[in-house]
């Protein structure tokens, strides 16, 4: 199923069912299960028509948030609004919101066509058959209308689940780990297709996932959730390039975090003392302005070959020893043990310009000041590391 093909059949009129758009707003929403607080005082606005991802490890409250929007859970305190309408306590079947469930929850006793028609029939809509046909074309399952869900592959079931929700032209489409049950290759393909369909129909998609790559690939805005609160929210590039917390730095990709102490904070550049050297950071990339900090840089921003250093690559941590080399075709990951006995990670594209480093080679780590970020040292430097591993 190619991208063009999924995008090609135009939806009749996404705006007709209110797709023209209402923002989804959560105001101070808290959800407690007994003594456990799943979602803690969450305030969030999701603009109409956006592709929004809630990203976090399992148990971070993202699914609970989604279920409160769907009406499957009621907030302990706080309110949910769709446009101007308060929908906090509205029963799920009265909300213009549909869900693509984790593991799909397709009705096993109904055919593919009847599954897709289910929502339309309950609403008493006209022209159900033609809508169903249009959806089958959109998800490229024409000819599968009379099959039962059990006769479909995982990817096909996923598309039926999507069609079953999408056919209702909801104001908000909720996706709960929609690709979690698919294998890697199919997942990548469906990511592109989902994004294409969202662009095509123009509905608000709220996508819950623990897969950071999936969130970054598809969403306009990613909110990283941890412990029931949003740690950071923004465009994928902002989140990745300028993480606000150690959790985000580690959960979204990998980070090298080194202890430091701020020396000067005048003007638009800070200087930080790190293990006897001075690291420069643009002021807007520093979350704190004084005291002890974590100095961070992404592994692929670091260069290890001395001759690669141009005039702008001025930050440097000298005298590391390569302790591990993992070659993966496209790139190579080096672990470099620093004199203060910390291992830092470096990714290098295998351009073939230079031979690979070998274990035991002495290297200096260099990067540009604008790739540096500075976080409060009060945070745990390993927050999110395990979660990210489990997540991927």
């Amino acid at each position: 199923m190619s991208v063009e093909a999924t995008v090609a059949p135009p939806l009749a009129n996404p705006a007709e069912a209110g797709g023209g758009g209402s923002d989804l707003r959560l105001e101070s929403v808290t959800k407690r299960f007994g003594s456990f607080t799943a979602v803690d005082d969450l305030t969030l606005t999701i603009p109409a028509g956006s592709f929004f991802a809630l990203l976090g490890p399992s148990g971070c409250g993202k699914t609970t948030t989604l279920r409160m929007v769907a009406g499957l859970e009621e907030p302990s305190t706080g309110d949910v609004y769709l446009g101007d309408q308060r929908i906090t306590s509205l029963r799920p079947y009265k909300r213009p919101v549909n869900t693509v469930f984790q593991n799909y929850a397709l009705f096993p006793h109904l055919s593919v066509a009847d599954n897709i028609a289910f929502g339309l029939k309950r609403q008493g809509r006209k022209g159900v058959d033609s809508e169903v046909t249009r959806m089958l074309e959109l998800v490229e399952l024409v000819g599968y209308a009379e099959r039962r869900p059990a006769q479909l592959s995982g990817g096909q079931q996923q598309r039926v689940a999507l069609a079953r929700a999408l056919v209702n032209s909801p104001q908000v489409l909720l996706l709960d780990e929609p690709l979690g049950a698919l294998d890697l290759k199919l997942r990548r393909q469906m990511q592109i297709e989902l994004k294409g369909i969202q662009t095509e129909v123009g509905l608000t998609f709220v996508h819950v996932t623990h897969d950071q790559e999936e969130a970054m690939t598809m969403a306009d805005t990613v909110a990283v959730m941890h412990g029931g609160v949003i740690e950071q929210m923004g465009a994928p590039t902002d989140l990745y390039d300028n993480p606000a917390t150690t959790f985000v730095a580690n959960f979204l990709g990998q980070s090298n975090l080194v202890e430091g102490e701020i020396r000067t904070a005048d003007g638009d550049e800070l200087t930080v003392a790190v293990q006897g050297t001075t690291i420069r950071v643009p002021a807007e990339r520093a979350r704190v302005r004084s005291g002890k900090v974590w100095v961070g840089v992404r592994p692929e921003k670091v260069v290890v070959h001395a001759e690669a250093a141009d005039a702008e690559v001025t930050n440097s941590l000298p005298r590391g020893t390569v302790s591990d080399v993992s070659y993966s075709g496209v790139s190579t990951q080096y672990l470099v043990r620093m004199p203060w006995d910390q291992e830092l990670t470096v990714f290098e594209q295998n351009t073939g310009a230079r031979p690979l480093l070998r274990t035991g080679d002495q290297v200096d780590l260099r990067w540009r000041p604008q790739h540096t970020f500075v976080l409060d040292a009060a945070q745990d430097a390993s927050a999110g590391v395990q979660d990210a591993k489990v997540g991927v």
């Binding site: 769907a70 009406g71 499957l72 029963r91 799920p92 079947y93 009265k94 919101v97 549909n98 869900t99 469930f101 593991n103 929850a105 397709l106 009705f107 096993p108 006793h109 289910f118 929502g119 309950r122 609403q123 079953r164 929700a165 209702n168």
Partner: protein, 300 residues
């Protein structure tokens, strides 16, 4: 599976044949005890029953019976006992409907709403089996008696009772049948309801189905295997039952089971056998028609 079991045996074709042979024999060996049991205690008696139903009806216990291929036994039995046949099917049908109406909400509550009380409630459903069928039916005789608790209560509330009594009426017999076979309705219903993925019901709600619509379009169709099993397990034994009429009814409630019992006792073996076979055939035909119908989605 096959590949896995064969792998360590090496490559010789001569090794495969015995291994395959042994595997296919295992199935038959496992079938053997059950098959022997059925042959001895089902196939042989059925054969004997059918042949008895074709004996010369003029035979008695004293003079003995003679095979005459007398199909007239069937026409006689059906003609003479048509009323009881229909009454049995009618009572069994009523009892099945009442058991379903009582049993479905009960099974639903146990499966979805009982929480930690689930196991206790299931034990309570099965609890009546700890006492004999006869004793339980006899207790109903007390409950429905002329000065029993039900009649007294209805009188106190000035609710009319036709003919002034419950015992020895069709109400009592159907009540007894419903009561006695209720667990056979509840257990299969519970088993199929309990298997339903709760997310499907959530999905129905998410797709604009009100709780009632969700029940009708998702829960009920998915519990149909339980409904079919429960109704069969109730209807079939209820149609052939004679205890409930014996203890709770009067001659006006005579069911086919009572007739068969009476004929056997009076030595009219051919007539009794013909009546038994007729009842069996009727039930088998009805069950096949029912399963066929329930198997299609058009049912709902």
């Amino acid at each position: 599976m096959t590949a896995l079991t064969r792998a360590p045996r090496g490559n010789g074709a001569e090794h495969r044949t015995p291994s395959r042979g042994r595997r296919s024999w295992t199935g038959y060996l496992l079938l053997l005890p059950g098959a022997l049991w059925l042959a001895l205690f089902f196939a042989v008696p059925i054969g004997s029953l059918i042949s008895t139903s074709l004996y010369d009806p003029s035979g008695t216990l004293e003079t003995g019976y003679r095979m005459a291929f007398e199909l007239g036994n069937y026409t006689d039995a059906i003609r003479t006992y048509a009323t009881e046949i229909w009454r049995s099917l009618w009572y069994a049908g009523l009892a099945t409907v009442f058991a379903l109406l009582l049993g479905y909400p009960l099974a639903y509550a146990i499966a979805f709403k009982a929480g930690r009380w689930k196991n206790l409630l299931l034990v309570l459903v099965i609890a009546p089996f700890f006492t004999s069928f006869l004793i339980r039916t006899l207790s109903w005789k007390l409950i429905l008696a002329d000065n029993g608790v039900v009649v007294d209560t209805l009188n106190f509330l000035h609710l009319p009772i036709p003919n002034g009594r419950l015992l020895d009426t069709s109400v009592a017999v159907v009540t007894g049948l419903t009561y006695n076979f209720l667990p056979f309705m509840v257990l299969p219903l519970y088993a199929s309801l309990e298997k339903i993925d709760h997310r499907l019901i959530e999905a129905a709600g998410d797709l604009y189905a009100s709780p009632f619509q969700g029940f009708r379009k998702v829960t009920l169709p998915l519990s149909m295997p339980g409904v079919v099993a429960g109704t069969l397990l109730t209807f079939i034994p209820a149609a052939g039952d004679f205890i409930n009429k014996e203890l709770l009814g009067s001659p006006q409630q005579t069911m086919i089971g009572n007739r068969i019992q009476g004929l056997f006792e009076s030595g009219s073996y051919p007539a009794a056998a013909a009546l038994s076979v007729t009842l069996m055939v009727l039930i088998v035909v009805m069950v096949i028609a029912y399963i066929r119908r329930a198997g299609t989605e058009d049912l709902l």
